[in-house]
């Protein structure tokens, strides 16, 4: 007898976890299909969450009711706030986590979630009925029927690992690859591509001489990621820093031909922002050293992650490189670094809901869409899970805008990008980043989470009370004048701190207000001018966002368009005029012509419908 679910989520990584948790909590009966249930929630690469741009994603997922922030907070072993010397708008939180504990905590959540069950097995094919996805087929031939399927296969689709000349099939060390699913998708008409990513060696902590290394401490009293739990307080660990030198670079150069990247064995394109050590040496020959961070993979593990030396060089060269690093002369390898190549499906094939365009009910999320990073994957999984569940219950699609969240930027970027390298979030991708700060994710999104049904009303009520206090305090500061200037003006001065106001206006009892309220008041005051400007731009653009491009729109027939624009528009099928304008290769003139054609077709429709003209 065939098992039957509302939704099958394939893959138990960060995308798969958020997708299945969100969908199950929204009422869908969900099956999480994974190769091995003990790797659910695993951190395949670095033992860290967050970072610049990515920390914002984690906070947003949390505010909306996702899991990543809370799981990070219970398993973090160090926090660092990045960009502290710069403004609040670009600050981000980054946490070192205990990998084993993280996966365990995530697995507990999965087990504890109603309507969510786990199925072990390799998904090799999709069931399709009446033009819709109808379920999955496992390697043993058994079938699981479902009304929606979310693929979050990460690097496992035809995954191929490289260490020097050695090649192993698989998406992660010690685990296999999925062979059939790529072919199934291709047969269904999906276009695929090949990408590459890499990971550095893992060393034994006991074999490292820490006395030779620089200590990198974290924050003493971090806020943590989650809006729903108190700031984490525990004993924090340190990370350590070392550096490559000219001799190491020479060794790499001498063996460069043995790196599969350079020998031509790897076809996939790797990320420029996270290059392998051989890439760094080749591309920046003038640099005589690169920083290397030694990060513990957990509290109780001997494994150290060597951040900065991602490599696919042969084992003997890796040993030479590592042992040349100060503090690592006697380092013992637990795992060698490797590069992994995998299939992905360019994301122009999905909508902003992450549902594929040509197979209703099928969703793609995470690295399968050509992205990189746990946080990016989790964000997509969350959006896909919510949308799949909502679609099954007939609810409106859940789409966040670019001015609302990094999640919105991510989705909007993906549907019109052709990744030549894995897509990663940066703050510079968010044109409204002064509004999308990591400190105000709750103010922006918690009520959205509440309306989805993923955030409880009590939390949202607390958020509303906080917002009211912030606004009333700002109002007070605007209205209270000292020496002819409103108090808020004092806060705008460079280097001003809210505590400067305590002696000036003691009766306001500002010091009694919660810290997070004071922080928001100070930031709002400091950025007020720029925030107003960004708000104006948003209002201007919003009109373009409202121009929806019908799916049936045939760009081939619009003769005023330039060929390049026509191709790009046909490929990316933008959903709104604003989206069309953001596609590289589409000029303002093309947008204008689209606007004309759109207006004319609306008018024609109106006439055909016999409606009156305005």
């Amino acid at each position: 007898m065939t098992q039957s679910f509302d939704i099958v989520v394939v893959g138990g990584g960060h995308a798969g976890c958020e997708a299945s948790l969100a969908a199950a909590r929204l009422g869908a009966r969900v099956c999480l299909a994974t190769l091995r249930s003990d790797t659910i929630g695993a951190l395949s690469c670095n033992p860290a969450m967050g970072g610049v741009g990515k920390g914002q994603l984690v906070r947003e997922i949390d505010a909306l009711g996702g899991a990543m922030g809370q799981v990070t907070d219970v398993t973090a072993i160090q926090y660092r706030t990045l960009n502290t010397s710069k403004g609040e708008a670009v600050q981000s939180l980054r946490a070192q986590v205990d990998k084993t504990q993280y996966a365990r905590a995530m697995q507990q959540r999965v087990r504890a979630t109603e309507r969510l069950s786990v199925l072990e097995g390799a998904v090799e094919d999709l069931l399709v009925r009446d033009g819709r996805v109808a379920g999955i087929v496992l390697a043993d031939g058994s079938e699981v029927s479902a009304r929606a399927v979310i693929l979050t296969n990460g690097t496992f689709l035809r995954g191929l690992m490289h260490t020097g000349e050695e090649r192993t099939e698989g998406g992660r060390v010690g685990e296999g690859a999925i062979a059939g699913l790529s072919g199934a998708l291709t047969r269904l008409g999906f276009e695929s591509g090949r990408l590459k990513t890499g990971t550095p060696p893992r060393l034994s902590k006991a074999s490292i001489d820490f006395s030779q290394l620089e200590v990198q401490p974290g924050d003493d009293e971090p806020d943590g990621f989650s809006h729903f739990t108190p700031p984490p307080r525990r004993e924090w660990i340190h990370c350590h820093v070392t550096r490559t030198d000219a001799a190491i670079h020479d060794l790499i150069r001498d063996n460069i031909a043995r790196s599969p990247m350079y020998s031509g064995d790897i076809e996939g394109v790797g990320p420029r922002y996270c290059p392998s050590i051989e890439d760094k040496v080749v591309r920046f020959p003038e640099r005589t050293g690169h920083t290397v961070h030694l990060e513990p993979e957990g509290v109780d593990t001997d494994s150290m992650y060597i951040n900065g030396v991602s490599t696919s060089l042969p084992a003997d060269v890796q040993e030479g490189v590592i042992r040349g690093l100060p503090g690592c002369a006697n380092a013992k390898f637990l795992k060698y670094g490797y590069a992994v190549e995998y299939d992905f499906f360019p994301p122009h094939q999905i909508r902003v809901t992450f549902e594929t365009r040509n197979l209703p009910g099928l969703y793609l999320a995470g690295q399968i869409c050509g992205t990189s990073g746990y946080e990016e994957a989790a964000a997509q999984g969350f959006l896909a899970g919510v949308n799949a569940a909502r679609a099954l219950s007939g609810d409106e699609p859940f789409v966040l805008s670019r001015d609302q969240a990094y999640l919105g930027v991510l989705a909007d970027d993906l549907v019109r990008c052709d990744p030549r390298e894995p897509y990663r979030m940066f703050t510079s991708r968010a044109e409204y980043r002064l509004l999308l700060r990591h400190d105000n994710a709750d103010l922006r999104l918690m009520e959205v989470g509440e309306s989805l049904g993923l955030v409880d009303h009590a939390s949202a009520d607390r958020l509303r009370a906080k917002r009211a206090t912030i606004e009333s305090t700002l109002e007070t500061l605007r209205g209270r004048f000292v020496d002819g200037a409103p108090l808020i003006k004092i806060l705008k001065r460079p280097g001003a701190d809210i505590s400067d106001l305590y002696p000036i206006a003691p009766d306001l009892d500002l010091a009694e207000l919660p810290v997070e309220v004071l922080r928001q008041v100070a930031i709002s005051a400091r950025y007020e001018h720029y925030i107003t400007r960004q708000q104006n731009q948003i209002d201007k653009l919003r009109r373009m966002e409202e121009w929806r491009l019908p799916e049936s729109f045939t760009y081939e027939s619009i003769s005023g368009l330039r060929n390049e624009a026509r191709e790009k528009l046909s490929r990316f099928q933008p959903e709104t005029l604003a989206q069309a304008g953001r596609i590289a290769g589409v000029t303002p003139a093309d947008v204008s012509i689209l606007m004309v054609a759109l207006r004319a077709s609306f008018d024609a429709e109106r006439l055909a419908a016999g409606g009156s003209r305005s």
């Binding site: 960009n83 510079s428 005023g560 303002p588 004319a600």
Partner: protein, 463 residues
């Protein structure tokens, strides 16, 4: 806000002398407004060409025309419309449009008829595309004029400035997004140097820009002077053909003759040969002079021709008698220079800005005028010596916007530099983006909803 059905009119046929011209007018009550310029009480019936006589308030002779009316819902624009068919004489047409304006029918903006047709739902998607295509094809002239400025040096210049700003933005962004990799945003002092460099470049770009409309619109050059001063000979020489009849007999040119002068790198020149002034005898000649006054008023450049063989005193007197408004835009061209032995010294004529000798009939005799025209008409194109471009008002205002925004950035950087206050890269980046945005709008790389208005404004007038 535009009144959607406000009556508008425009010439629907090409500029210049020719057989028949069509002036199209459209809008609310356009027929009753038109009655104000029509002799007698003529009833204009839809779809019937009715003979009408058009009166001119400025005393110009009445002109016979045919009026073809369309009722609302049955015209191109779906509005009440009328087409006037009349002889294609530029001064007459201009006069008529002016008359219509006084009667409450304003000049249409470029593409306004087509825009109304769209907005009324009158033309469907395929027609809309066809129009876009036709416009693209038929508007080559202005497209060329625009491209000369935009695809050429100015665009490159602005793109280069945009790139410099973009580079600064990129460095700032890198300092924000890659701080984990030990990339720091540049220091205030260095940024200040860069900003000042770009600012100096912008200043140079803005220096003495020539008046706005010339870069994209046509330039009207009018040949004027006394009868038999050699205007038509000059006209033909410039065009390299014989379209005006010339003879030594004064008053050979009785109607204004116009032609387009197309030269590589020049804006399109509408060259107009006017009937000679001053010693006109009969009435129709006088009327022509009245019409010439209008042409002179519209001229961007007047080539005032005098016979070089005349005495310096009489040339000086004649030049001195010209209205100041004309002299300001006129060059004194000494024609028939081949017939005089020496070039007269004209230092005493009250210093016209440009004096040129012209010998239209000998090779090389035209060179002086040709070169002066070339330098005048292409003035404003960028060159290394720091001359300015021709700017449209829109380009001007965007450039000024960019400059003002960048100046604020530089001021802020200089303050920070002096007080050793750190740069705020996340804010500086926004400010620089605004500067970049203004520059992008000049070359058209930035899109807003107002682009709808813009694309329509690129349509040929009256299309």
């Amino acid at each position: 806000m535009h009144d959607d059905n406000e009556p508008i009119a425009a010439l629907a046929t090409p500029h210049g002398p020719g057989g028949v011209a069509v002036i199209r007018a459209s809008g609310r009550d356009v027929l009753s407004k038109l009655a104000a310029v029509i002799d007698g009480d003529v009833e204009l019936r839809a779809r019937i060409a009715t003979p009408v006589r058009i009166r001119f308030a400025d005393g110009a002779p009445a002109i016979d025309a045919r009026a073809l009316a369309y009722s609302a819902g049955a015209s191109y624009t779906s509005e009440e419309s009328v087409e006037l068919f009349l002889p294609s004489s530029p001064p007459v047409l201009r006069s008529l449009l002016e008359q219509l304006r006084r009667a409450g029918i304003r000049a249409a903006e470029p593409g306004e008829f087509t825009r109304r047709a769209f907005l009324s739902g009158r033309i469907d998607l395929t027609r809309a595309e066809a129009v876009v295509q036709v416009i693209a094809a038929e508007d080559l002239e202005s497209a060329r004029a625009a491209r000369r400025v935009l695809d050429g040096d100015l665009a490159r210049e602005i793109e280069r400035l945009g790139d410099s700003i973009h580079n600064l933005i990129a460095l700032l962004e890198a300092g924000l997004d890659f701080s984990e990799q030990e990339v720091e945003p540049p220091a205030a002092a260095w940024l200040l140097t860069q900003a000042r460099d770009i600012l100096a470049h912008l200043d140079r770009l803005c220096r003495n820009p020539v008046s706005a409309h010339r870069s994209t619109a046509r330039v009207r050059v009018v040949l004027w002077g006394r009868a038999n001063a050699g205007k038509s000979t000059c006209f033909n020489a410039l065009l390299g053909r014989d379209s005006a009849i010339t003879s030594p007999q004064a008053g050979t040119t009785r109607d204004p003759v116009g032609a387009e002068l197309v030269r590589d790198g020049w804006p399109t020149v509408e060259l107009l040969d006017l009937p000679g002034a001053h010693d006109a005898a009969d009435r129709s000649e006088k009327a022509a002079i009245a019409l010439a006054a209008k042409d002179l008023e519209d001229a961007d450049l007047i080539l005032y021709l005098v016979d070089a063989s005349r005495s310096v005193a009489s040339i000086t007197r004649e030049w001195g008698s010209l209205p100041d408004g004309i002299k300001a835009r006129a060059w004194l061209v000494l024609s028939k220079a081949d017939l005089t032995a020496a070039r007269p010294s004209l230092d005493g004529v009250g210093a016209p800005p440009t004096q040129l000798a012209l010998s239209a009939t000998t090779p090389g005799g035209r060179q002086e005028l040709e070169m002066a025209l070339a330098s005048h008409l292409t003035r404003g194109r960028w060159d290394a010596r720091g001359a300015a471009y021709l700017f449209t008002d829109r380009q001007r205002s965007k450039l000024t916007e960019a400059r003002a925004a960048l100046r604020e950035v530089a001021d802020d950087l200089s303050r920070r530099d002096a007080s050793a206050e750190p740069v705020q890269p996340e804010l500086l980046s926004i400010d620089l983006r605004d500067v970049h945005g203004s520059l992008e709008e000049i070359t058209g790389a930035l899109s807003t909803e107002e682009t709808l208005d813009k694309i329509f404004s690129q349509f040929c007038l009256g299309k």
